[in-house]
Each structure stands twice: as structure tokens, then as C-alpha cells.
């Protein structure tokens, strides 16, 4: 394989013009690779398919279309997410956080129905069908895990009759995400993960990532009143640790590095001459290539996608040299992206050599909010939730919606909901104006049939931190309601924070379009999710029933025994006993004999 850096400005100009003029296609795919601080790489795969419910000749997967049509679902969002997005070092989530969900599985959909109960029935049909399609326990999204958010979500698609659409939302924070979920995801793609950028999607690498999210979004799109299509957007975002990927290539089992391979920090007072060393981080941009971090090179291109398009884009510092395989053409964009066309046959690879010292990397722009959430309190009966939300912007206040979906066994007290802002804003005297809560929607839980839905619209001034707290009570479950691993705790779904009216920054816009219309998601809203929480409920000793049975049996035996004894025994007075005289005479006789003997001695 001969490699050489591509720098041909003439060809570049020619290609940019042709790319802008490509024709209508029903399928497109795109991969964006972006280096992040600390030798992390974000790989963002996007696959867009257009089709209809009924046309079986389109590329739209029939399995999914049938489910949507059967359950009268008009718009669907399904997310499988694992890990935590490190906003402090990586910046805001790509695509305004619209492609990622909370830890585990999150599903929301607009279902067409005449009334609420019908919508519930169709929602059950939808979750059950999707559980079969995606090999996930989505059928566990029942009434207790379903809420109907009011402010947090808006439909992305073009809908005719919004009044008949019901938004339902459910999440499973405990659900593992693994290869069995990726397999059906790939089967929905026209090229099935065999060629094109989807050939890089390997479970062994995807589930080794620091953070990864698979998302399936279906929405109707109308370019003109009479030309509407059903658009399926499949996204895989993953943050790979280059160092770990390279290490895995050399040693499949993670082992500590030998000392001579460590980069010790010479500024630390310790670490010289064999003593424990403090490793320096990010001293160099490690060399990596697609085949190294994904375990295989990119194989050819998907012939169903638009061509010749730039399917692979790289967002790395401009100074960093890049080597690519022969039959590809580089296109440099003014925003710093370098995009490549895929060769018609054979493998494609991008190689980045080592860069020392490390180049400054621009992470994603700062997110509009930083959010974290934790439990407070102690004991088995009561607890509290504390959410800390920070607006880092020096001048711009942020309006957002905070959404919580709590299981029924976690019962919040709404009157304890308090918000505090640091630093405290100047007092105006009017309590209503001072409160950051502008609207509050609440639907209390019903034991075993409905969870709590809490949704608050808040306004956070610039450069300040909001602390939202509330207390809750833990319910005691019935013996059979505990899962097999009850002592592990119960996962509480992440809170969803939706920032309204956020001006999207240039990096957030998508690098390509399909069928002329730019892909918009969330209408400029930014979604941020906290981590899930682990609630420990009072858990019984599960051998307790046996203890109870044994103890009860003992008590019953004692009670029965004594009562039975009392009932069947005849009690008589000591003097009434017939045999007493006889017994007395024997003693008397002995005494008499002793007396007689004594008397004999005296007389002698």
C-alpha cells in the first residue's frame, strides 16, 4: 500500500462543486472522526434512509416500517447508551445531544390515537414489538415506567394532526447494551455492515468505548405538501480511548505497562530511580489509524449511498499530517474538516503518525449547562435528590426544562422541592419573580401502576449554579416484587435537561445533507442527561420466610402443646389423691422402725 499526503487544491475545487450538486438518493452515510483531549477519538456514524410505510421497494427496513404502521407510531426515538459523556474535558455532546439517550435504553414516540387509553395500548404494542426486533427488554416499559412529558420534547418531523398525537416516554436505566442490540441495528442498514462505513462497526470495539450511543430516529419529512417520506436516521457515536485500543492490539488482556514504557513526570519529587512514578498525560498525540482503533480497515463503500460523496470526515488540528490510501480524494473545508471519498473497491485507511509535542485540540464548544445529580440523606426510609446545574456562560441566562421520571417505589414530596441559586441574585422583594421555576408539571405516582412525572421549567441566570433538591420516601416492596439481585439496588433513570432556544454553534451542524433537506433534530434544543442513580431500598433477608415458618411453627408447637396439656390433664387437690395414704404409710413405717430402733438402744 503506497501512502502519500493529498494536497491538490485544483482537484479540491472541482470536487466541492460536484459534491454540492449530487442527485437525490434514498440513502446516505457519513462518518466523522474527531480527536478529543487525552488521546480520545470521537467516531460518529450516521446513516439516513428515506422510505415509506407501504413501499416495499424502498431501502427503508420493512421490519421497522411494519411495527410503526401496526402500532400507529408517527415518530420514534430509540436510544441505547452506555458510559458517561465527560463534558468537562470533551465539551458539549455532538448534535446537541439529540442522538444520545440516558444510560441504558430510552424510548419516546408520538403515537396516533383518539384518547389516552388507546395510546397506552398502542404504546404497549410498540414496546413489545421493538423488544423483539432489538433484543432488548423494552417490554418492561409498562405503565410504571411510562410518562407523558409536556415541555421537554417536540416532534422533529412534519405532522398533520398534532392533537391526535400522544407523546409517550419510557426508559430502562438498568438495561445492558451489547452485541445483540448492535446486530439488529446493522440489519436495518441497506449494506448490513458488510461494506461502507458500517463495516467498521464491530461490537468488540464499540462496547470497549468510554462512551457510546446507538440511536434510531424515525420521523416523517415533507419537502413539499405532497411529497412526504419517512426518514430513518441511525446514529452511532462512540468515544474511543486510543491508548487502550493500541494496547489491546499488543496485549489483548489489559496489564500494567512495564516501567520503561511509562512516561514519568520529571517535575514530581518522586518517580526517579525505580520508585513509583507519576505518569504524564497527553505528552504526545499517539499514532493511530482506522484499522488500529476499529480493528479492521474500512471496506469499500456502500453502492446504495450517494457517490462520489465525502463519506469520511476528519476533524483534527490542521498541522497534523494525515496519510490515506491511494484511491481516495481529500477535500478540505473552510471549518477545518478534511473529508475523503471512499475507493470504489478495496480497503480504505487513514493513518495519523505520532505528533510530539501534542497539538492543542479544540474540543467541542462549551455546553450550555453542566449537570450532575446525586442522592442525599441516609437510612432505609427517607432520602433526597440533589441536582447541581451550572451555567458557565458569563452573560447569557439559560432557560431549560428539567424532567424526572421516577419509579413508583421512590415517592417524592413535592412541597420539599427547593431551588437555590449561587451566587444569589439581587433581591427584588417579590418571591414569585425570584424563583427560577417558571412552570411546574407534576403527576404523582400510584403504587404499582404509575410512576412519578416531574417536569420543571427553570431560568438560570448567567454564570451561576442552580441547586435543585427534593426529599422522597422509599416504599417497601412485596416479597415477590424484588428482582433476583435486589441487594444491588434499583436504577433510577437519568434526568433529562432540555435547553430551549440555544443557538447552535457551527460544529453542531451536520456535515452533509440528504435529498436536499438539511437534517434538523430538536429544533435547536440541546439535550443533556445526568447519570443514572442507584437507589437502595430496604431489602429483606430473603431466607426470612423460612425463618418465619420455623419460628411460627415453634411458637405454635409450644402454644398447642401447653394448651393441649392443660385440656387433657385432670387436676386434683393433693389431699384428694387416693394413693397418698399408702405413700404416707410407707414413710411412716420407716420412721416408726427408726424410732423403734432408737428406743431399743436407749432401753439397752
Amino acid at each position: 500500500m503506497r501512502l502519500r499526503p493529498w494536497l491538490n487544491s485544483l482537484l479540491l475545487l472541482f470536487l466541492t462543486t460536484t459534491v454540492c450538486a449530487y442527485v437525490y438518493k434514498d440513502y446516505d452515510e457519513n462518518l466523522l472522526l474527531k480527536t478529543l483531549p487525552n488521546n480520545a477519538v470521537l467516531a460518529s456514524f450516521r446513516f439516513v434512509t428515506n422510505g415509506t410505510y407501504t413501499n416495499h421497494h424502498s431501502l427503508f427496513p420493512r421490519s421497522l416500517a411494519q411495527i410503526l404502521s401496526h402500532s400507529n407510531t408517527r415518530e420514534l426515538h430509540l436510544k441505547f447508551t452506555m458510559g458517561r459523556w465527560d463534558a468537562e474535558s470533551w465539551g458539549a455532546q455532538p448534535f446537541n445531544g439529540q442522538t444520545a439517550g440516558g444510560t441504558g435504553v430510552e424510548l419516546w414516540a408520538w403515537v396516533e390515537a383518539v384518547d389516552g387509553p388507546t395510546a397506552d395500548k398502542r404504546w404497549t404494542t410498540l414496546t413489545n414489538a421493538l423488544s423483539g426486533l432489538f433484543c432488548a427488554s423494552l417490554n418492561f416499559i409498562d405503565g410504571t415506567r411510562t410518562i407523558r412529558p409536556v415541555m421537554s420534547f417536540t416532534p422533529d418531523g412534519d405532522h398533520e394532526d398534532m392533537d391526535r398525537l400522544h407523546l409517550l416516554h419510557g426508559s430502562l436505566p438498568r438495561e445492558p447494551v451489547c452485541t445483540e442490540n448492535l446486530t439488529p441495528f446493522l440489519k436495518l442498514l441497506p449494506c448490513k455492515g458488510k461494506v461502507g462505513i458500517s463495516s467498521l462497526l464491530d461490537g468488540h470495539k464499540l462496547f470497549d468505548a468510554q462512551w457510546q450511543s446507538m440511536s434510531i430516529d424515525v420521523r416523517p419529512v415533507c419537502t413539499a405538501p405532497d411529497s412526504c417520506v419517512l426518514q430513518l436516521t441511525q446514529t452511532v457515536d462512540m468515544v474511543l480511548d486510543v491508548e487502550r485500543s493500541l494496547q489491546r492490539r499488543d496485549y489483548p488482556v489489559p496489564r500494567p505497562r512495564p516501567r520503561e514504557e511509562l512516561n514519568c513526570d520529571p517535575n514530581k519529587p518522586y518517580g526517579a530511580d525505580g520508585s513509583p512514578c507519576f505518569p504524564r498525560s497527553n505528552i504526545a498525540d499517539l499514532p493511530w489509524s482506522i484499522s488500529e482503533v476499529f480493528g479492521r480497515p474500512l471496506h469499500s463503500y456502500c453502492p446504495l449511498a450517494s457517490e462520489p460523496a465525502e463519506h469520511v470526515c476528519l476533524d483534527v488540528p490542521q498541522e497534523r499530517p494525515i496519510y490515506i490510501t491511494r484511491d481516495s480524494i481529500e477535500v478540505r473545508h473552510p471549518d477545518g474538516r478534511r473529508c475523503y471519498t471512499l475507493p470504489p473497491a478495496g480497503d480504505f485507511d487513514i493513518i495519523l503518525p505520532q505528533q510530539s509535542p501534542a497539538l492543542p485540540i479544540t474540543p467541542f464548544p462549551e455546553p450550555p449547562l453542566y449537570a450532575s445529580r446525586s442522592f442525599t440523606g441516609h437510612g432505609q426510609e427517607h432520602g433526597g435528590v440533589k441536582a447541581v446545574i451550572k451555567n458557565p456562560h458569563p452573560t447569557r441566562p439559560v432557560e431549560f426544562v428539567y424532567l424526572e421520571s421516577l419509579p413508583w417505589f421512590m415517592k417524592p414530596y413535592l412541597h420539599t422541592l427547593k431551588t437555590t441559586i449561587y451566587p444569589a441574585p439581587p433581591a427584588t422583594g417579590d418571591a414569585d419573580l425570584e424563583s427560577p421555576v417558571t412552570a411546574l408539571y407534576y403527576r404523582p405516582a400510584i403504587d404499582r401502576s404509575r410512576g412519578t412525572h416531574l417536569e420543571a421549567s427553570l431560568l438560570l441566570p448567567a454564570n451561576s449554579t442552580l441547586i435543585l433538591t427534593y426529599d422522597f420516601e422509599k416504599a417497601i416492596l412485596r416479597y415477590t416484587e424484588y428482582p433476583p439481585d435486589a441487594n444491588r439496588g434499583f436504577d433510577i433513570a437519568p434526568a433529562v435537561i432540555t435547553v430551549l432556544k440555544h443557538s447552535p454553534s457551527p460544529q453542531h451542524t451536520l456535515p452533509y445533507t440528504i435529498s436536499g433537506a438539511p437534517i434538523q433534530q430538536g429544533h435547536g434544543r440541546v439535550a443533556i442527561r445526568t447519570t443514572s442513580l442507584l437507589l437502595s431500598l430496604p431489602t429483606p433477608d430473603f431466607s426470612m420466610p423460612y425463618n418465619v415458618i420455623i419460628l411460627t411453627s415453634t411458637v405454635m408447637a409450644l402454644a398447642f402443646g401447653s394448651v393441649f396439656n392443660l385440656l387433657v390433664r385432670r387436676f386434683v387437690g393433693a389431699d384428694e389423691v387416693a394413693g397418698k395414704k399408702k405413700f404416707g404409710t410407707v414413710v411412716e413405717k420407716i420412721r416408726e422402725k427408726v424410732r423403734r430402733l432408737k428406743g431399743k438402744r436407749k432401753t439397752e
Binding site: N128, G157, R443
Partner: protein, 383 residues
């Protein structure tokens, strides 16, 4: 005499039996790992090894019901993400790139297992979670987990008893849900699990007899736990070495004869009394492989076809095309202000603190009425 007449009537039926019993038209596999928790890695490896074997020999994913009670592949404790190995040499990744798990995690319960076998499922249950067999289906049931005398634990929380399985299989037989069945179980005292079967055409085998443990084969130091059980290991060894492809002519007798107590370290058992075929005539491929035979009945019944076709066309005419024409006016619904809650929609209540003069007046009136009542009561009491 009456009895003799009945026999005479049954004779023509009996004559067709040997022909019928030799054929099946589809193969299904139900593979169950009932153990939760990381240290039971080997049970998942057992069942995934069987999954790979039946898939290798031709049973498609749509006819395999795979039940895994826990996720070990993407478990944080697994140093090999998305991989499960059944051997310390780590030559074969059982999880691979193409796997469909039908029941996983908390879904693997005794109730779901029996519902699956007997097909008494919720109406919304997807096809991939149903055992859609008929009286021409050969079913292979493989179970592994922790068990004891006449029971097998599910998820360390509940048990299925030998009687439950026996009754479920009888229901399957009554509902014509299998043609022949191979029941294989790898657990402690496994042979007790099939001792209660009473339905015909079941061939059963287990790893150990009463009061005998079923042991693991070997461990992997990097995985940190035992990776496979002995009985499954030697079954697989035989299948890998001898049943190389779907044209294999090895019989179940060959498989059972390969069991070596010295290697397995427990006494494997085989129950054949319910199975009315000779073991040396039963191919391993009858249960581990796949056939796609078609059975044609009611030849030349043209009228019936016509009626069916008419009925189908009537049904097709009824089908409406939902969403065929989506938004026409293309109203952008991206407004930040939420739409007013519809009366027909179930929505959360808006929490508001309203202070209006009318509310205040109502409150004052109520207080006044209470005070008046109290005052009147004291007056009346005095008089």
C-alpha cells in the same frame, strides 16, 4: 369382542405411523441459561456454545429461542468486552458479531419459560419470543444452571421442578407442538429433571445422576472464572470433531456412546423409554440441524383455494394505509411553547399557586361560616 373391533379400526391408522414418525419439517431449539451473576459465566458459555453449534449446523436465528439470564459479554467485569469464551485458549468468541438473544436478564423466569413452551403468551408478544412449532417440528431443549434433586434454579430466586417441565411437555404434546424432542440438561443431579416426563417421543439426557454434582471443566485466569462445564464440553468435543456439516450421518447412539464417566466426572444419563425409535437410527442432525420439508395436503381441492383467495382479497381491500399521506400542511411544530393540554390526552397537572380575590373571598366566607357555627353552638348550649 368390542376391544377387538376397536383394534381393527385402529389398524389402518397404526400402519401409517412408522412413515409419519420418521419425518419432520422444521427444527427448533430452546437454549436456556438460568443463572445470574458473573461467577456463573460457564453456564452462559455452555448455552452459547450450543447456540453456535445449532447455528453452525443450520438452524436459523428465527428458530432459536435463546434465553440468557445475565449479561456477561458486556459486563464491566469482563476484560474482553463483547466476547464470551468457552475455552482458555480463547480461540472462538462465542458472542461474535451476529447474535440474537430473545429473552435476557429479568425476562428469564420460570413463568416465561413455561409460557414459551406452551405458547400461552401475551397477545403483543413478538414472533422472536415465541416457539412457533407444530406437530412436525423437532425441538431441542437445552438447559443449564444450578439444580438439585428434581429442580433447577432460575436466577437464584426461583425454581422449576421436574414436574413442571413434565407437565409443560405434556401440554405441548396435547397441543401438537412437537414431533420429537431432545431434552439435554447440564446441572447438578440433572438426571432427576427428566425422571418425571410422561409424554411420548422425548429423548432425554442429563449430566449427572441423583446425589451427584456436575462439574466444571476448566477455568481461564484472565476471565477469572470457570469457562465451561465438563458434560457440555465433551458433548461439544464430539459434535465439533464428528458432526462437521449438515450431511453428517452420526446418530444419537454415537453421541451417547461417546460419554466417558472418567472424563465427565459424573454419570451422564439417557432416557429412551418414551422415545419409540432406535437410537442408532436417529441422526444427530434430526435435532441439531435444520430441515425445510414441505408437507402438501388436500391435493386438487381447487374450490377451497378459490374461497381462500377471495377471502384474502377481501382482507387486503380492508387494509388501510396508515401514514401513506403524512403532513400535508407541513406545520412546523417546533414551537417552544407547549400546546394546551387536550381534554382527551392524559397529561401531568400544572402546579400553580393562584391568588385571586374570588379565592380569598371563598376562604374568608368559609372561615366566617365556621366561626358563626361555633358562636351559635355556644349560645344554644348556654340556653
Amino acid at each position: 369382542m368390542k376391544f377387538g373391533a376397536q383394534i381393527a379400526l385402529l389398524l389402518p391408522l397404526l400402519a401409517t405411523l412408522p412413515f409419519v414418525s420418521a419425518q419432520h419439517t422444521s427444527n427448533w431449539a430452546v437454549l436456556v441459561s438460568t443463572s445470574r451473576f458473573w461467577f456463573n459465566y460457564r453456564h452462559l458459555a455452555n448455552v452459547l456454545s450450543m447456540y453456535r453449534t445449532v447455528k453452525r449446523l443450520g438452524i436459523p436465528d428465527s428458530q432459536i429461542i435463546l434465553m440468557l439470564a445475565d449479561d456477561v459479554a458486556c459486563n464491566p467485569r469482563n476484560v474482553f468486552p463483547a466476547s464470551v469464551f468457552n475455552n482458555a485458549d480463547r480461540g472462538l468468541d462465542l458472542y461474535g458479531n451476529n447474535i440474537e438473544v430473545d429473552y435476557r436478564g429479568y425476562e428469564v423466569t420460570v413463568e416465561n419459560f413455561i409460557r414459551l413452551l406452551t405458547d400461552r403468551v401475551e397477545p403483543d408478544t413478538p414472533r422472536s419470543k415465541r416457539l412457533l412449532t407444530d406437530d412436525r417440528s423437532n425441538v431441542f431443549v437445552y438447559m443449564t444452571g444450578h439444580g438439585g434433586n428434581e429442580f433447577l434454579k432460575f436466577q437464584d430466586a426461583e425454581e422449576i421442578s421436574a414436574f413442571d417441565i413434565a407437565d409443560a411437555f405434556e401440554q405441548m404434546w396435547e397441543k401438537k407442538r412437537y414431533h420429537q424432542m431432545l431434552f439435554m440438561i447440564d446441572t447438578c443431579q440433572a438426571n432427576t429433571m427428566y425422571s418425571k416426563f410422561y409424554s411420548p417421543n422425548i429423548l432425554a439426557t442429563g449430566s449427572s445422576k441423583l446425589d451427584e454434582s456436575s462439574l466444571s471443566h476448566h477455568g481461564d485466569n484472565d476471565v477469572g472464572v470457570a469457562v465451561i462445564d465438563r458434560y457440555t464440553y465433551y458433548n461439544l468435543e464430539f459434535l465439533e470433531n464428528n458432526v462437521k456439516n449438515a450431511s453428517s450421518k452420526h446418530t444419537m447412539k454415537d453421541l451417547f456412546d461417546s460419554y466417558d464417566i472418567g472424563k465427565i466426572h459424573s454419570t451422564p444419563g439417557v432416557r429412551t423409554d418414551l422415545f419409540n425409535r432406535k437410537l442408532d437410527e436417529v441422526l444427530i442432525m434430526d435435532f441439531f440441524g435444520n430441515v425445510q420439508n414441505v408437507e402438501v395436503d388436500a391435493e386438487g381441492d381447487v374450490e377451497k383455494w378459490k374461497v381462500d383467495a377471495e377471502e384474502l382479497s377481501r382482507l387486503a381491500a380492508k387494509i388501510t394505509m396508515p401514514g401513506a399521506g403524512c403532513a400535508k400542511n407541513a406545520t412546523k411544530s417546533g414551537a417552544t411553547v407547549p400546546s394546551p393540554p387536550d381534554a382527551q390526552k392524559i397529561l401531568a397537572m400544572k402546579v400553580e399557586e393562584k391568588t385571586s380575590p374570588i379565592r380569598n373571598a371563598i376562604g374568608v366566607c368559609a372561615l366566617g361560616a365556621c366561626a358563626a357555627a361555633w358562636f351559635a353552638a355556644t349560645l344554644l348550649g348556654k340556653s
